[in-house]
């Protein structure tokens, strides 16, 4: 038995059906985004306003930061369901440090450090012990948040310093928030990493055929380990931003973030089977989800009903190209 989990069908050809239409996939996302944008501006008079649009970005930046790293992980054929629990644990430990008088730099270091440590733990279990990532991260999902519950119970931490709150609430210039700037920077970094470096090519190689990648001299396990650490790191960063934005920590913080992040990744055209995807697609998908939730929010649609739209969006966007191909094949 190799390190590849058996439940996954290994794509044995490089011309993924999505890949040929990759350009058009992103085009499609742009069109969807524009359509929703226009619909929003008609639906609500409050939408076309610099501050509204700025508020809109807070809807997705934290999840989208995780989605960037998650995209690489899914392209490599693995998955991490524990990201939201990593946020909970990192946020709780930051709050704990706060009780001992930690100041802003220490808090940020703890948040990011806990994230990396949790990611490394996942990575070790998957690559070191050769366990399927989906089960491992279902386990650590309970474990990480469980530890947060042990520490905090039904209590909450409050009273974060103003200099810390700036990370989640501050603006760099006019309506451009720090969160948005950070997301833009990370998006560029991940784009370069995935599409312009050897590392990125290897990630694709692993996702398409891990055994062949191994034979070609790619250190499959090491790269997967790094990817888990990166996902942990981004969860830690998201924990800092979210905690700073909310100004408090509860163990139930960021519940359901993992599903939203994965939805962004899959909506962005990343194949859940691994081996295909782009950062641009993920960024566009994040924007679309942000637009949809914000637009519906302006129309006073409750959050739980919005989730129907995101869920349906996820299935429809994946089903449409498949249906289209099926129809075309039938005609041929």
């Amino acid at each position: 038995m190799t390190e590849t989990s058996l439940h996954r069908r290994l794509p044995d050809r490089l011309d993924n059906p999505l890949k040929s239409g990759l350009l058009s996939w992103e085009m499609l996302l742009v069109l969807v985004a524009v359509a929703i944008f226009v619909a929003n501006s008609f639906a609500s008079p409050y939408f076309l306003n610099a501050w509204s649009l700025s508020d809109l970005t807070f809807n997705f930046t934290e999840k989208a930061l995780i989605a960037l790293a998650m995209a690489l992980l899914i392209i490599a054929g693995e998955i991490d369901l524990s990201v939201a629990s990593i946020i909970a644990l990192a946020s709780t430990l930051m709050g704990l440090a706060l009780q001992f008088g930690a100041d802003t730099p220490v808090l940020v270091a703890i948040g990011v450090g806990v994230g990396i440590a949790c990611g490394a733990f996942n990575g070790f279990l998957v690559t070191g012990l050769k366990l399927p990532s989906i089960v491992v991260t279902i386990g650590t999902m309970s474990l990480f948040r469980g530890i947060a519950f042990i520490i905090l119970g039904d209590q909450s931490y409050k009273g974060y310093p103003a200099s810390f709150a700036w990370f989640g609430q501050g603006y760099v210039w006019w309506v451009i928030s720090f969160e948005l700037v950070l997301f833009a920077i990370f998006a560029v970094i991940y784009w370069v990493l995935l599409h312009r470096t050897n590392f990125g090519r290897r990630v694709f190689a692993i996702g398409n055929n891990p055994v062949a990648a191994q034979f070609s001299g790619v250190r499959v396990d090491r790269i997967k380990f790094v990817l888990f650490c990166l996902t942990g790191l981004m969860s830690g960063v998201a924990a800092v931003l979210l905690t700073a934005r909310l100004g408090s920590t509860r163990p139930s913080i960021a519940q359901g973030f993992e599903l939203d992040a994965i939805t962004m990744v899959v909506l962005g055209g990343v194949s859940i089977l691994g081996g295909a995807g782009s950062i641009l697609g993920v960024v566009l998908a994040a924007l679309i989800i942000g637009l949809v939730t914000f637009g519906l929010g302006l129309l006073n649609v409750p959050g739980i009903v919005m989730s129907i739209f995101t869920g349906a969006l996820l299935i429809v966007v994946i089903a449409l190209p498949i249906l289209w191909t099926m129809m075309r094949e039938r005609r041929a």
């Binding site: 038995m1 050769k130 279902i138 469980g146 119970g153 055994v211 599903l259 129907i308 996820l314 498949i322």
Partner: protein
């Protein structure tokens, strides 16, 4: 004897026994028959759900929408009961199984006809079903006083000294056991998990079999929807929130391999019982219930490490030189 030692269910049963003995050491009343039966009854719903999930996992799929399905069917049946209290409960239960099965079939069709990976499909339907609970109920709760007495009391009645709820679990477990070991369909679930390509050559329709697995897990979720609501006598949007992973956890602890093809009815039942015993034991030995989540997380990780060891010996090495590479 040797076979017994290699048996996963045997070790799991031993682990459960060990927990019970350890707790009983300090609190003799824990091992009393009545308390153990209470634990069994408390775990009944999880046992049934774990059996449904097991079938899906056997076919190399996963159903993350079970808890949301349960919440939606539960809300629907509670609202129907509140509106038409004269409807007999067996009709309502049949309705639940149908609605749940239909929701499962929706998952199944997407997996079968469109070939979308199950994790994506059920991730989507998880949020859709959960959102629909809000839509049909308008965010309102259905409380105990709106439900009919029959609706609430049915599962609390006793038969041969056991609550009816426990009997539901026993009957479902019995039916599943027959299905999985004595019918072609049951064997097909295993076959497509072990080797989908070979299954095609033996005449099994892989897509259709997966579809039926989803219908089954959906129908069980629907049944549990009624049982859950009538047990906790409240129907709301939050019912069984996050429970989908507990169900998967019970399967994993019970030795069901996430890679498909490996798992037994007894294993899934024991996995659920293990979680039930641990959750019941914690407050008894004075551990805060806030430890529950971390402990079940640790149990999942431990179980998957042990499972992986058990499975490794099972793979037959066809090309010995290729073995060392990975």
């Amino acid at each position: 004897m040797n076979r017994l030692l290699k048996n996963r269910e045997f070790w799991l049963a031993l682990a459960i026994l060990a927990v019970i003995v350890l707790v009983t050491f300090r609190f003799p009343r824990f091992a009393q028959a009545s308390n153990l039966l209470t634990i069994f009854n408390d775990t009944s719903i999880l046992m049934m759900l774990a059996l449904g999930q097991m079938v899906v996992i056997l076919t190399r799929s996963i159903d993350l929408s079970m808890a949301a399905n349960l919440a939606l069917t539960g809300m629907l049946v509670a609202m129907v009961n509140a509106a038409f209290p004269w409807l007999p409960i067996p009709v309502l239960i049949a309705g639940c199984i149908l609605v749940g099965g239909f929701l499962g079939a929706f998952n199944g069709v997407l997996v079968w006809k469109l070939g979308i990976p199950p994790i994506v499909v059920t991730l989507g339907t998880l949020t859709i079903f959960r959102g629909l609970v809000f839509v049909v109920s308008g965010g309102a709760w259905v409380n105990a006083d709106q439900m009919s007495q029959d609706f609430i009391q049915l599962q609390r009645g006793a038969f041969l000294g056991l609550p009816i709820l426990s009997w539901f679990a026993i009957v479902v477990a019995g039916l599943m056991s027959v299905l999985m070991t004595r019918t072609p369909l049951g064997r097909a679930f295993y076959a497509i998990g072990v080797n989908p390509t070979a299954s095609v050559y033996t005449g099994i329709d892989v897509g259709r079999t997966k579809f039926l697995a989803f219908v089954l897990s959906g129908a069980i979720s629907g049944l549990c929807g009624y049982l859950w609501i009538s047990r906790y006598v409240i129907a709301s949007v939050e019912v069984a929130g996050g429970y989908e992973l507990t169900i998967v956890a019970a399967c994993v602890i019970g030795g069901v391999s996430i890679a498909g093809g490996i798992g037994t009815v007894a294993g899934a039942l024991l996995g659920a019982i293990f979680l039930g015993v641990v959750n019941n034991a914690l407050p008894v030995i004075g551990v805060s219930p806030f430890w529950q989540m971390a402990i079940s997380g640790a149990a999942i990780l431990l179980a998957v490490v042990l499972n992986a060891r058990g499975e490794k010996s099972k793979g037959r090495v066809i090309l010995r030189s290729a073995e060392g590479v990975a």
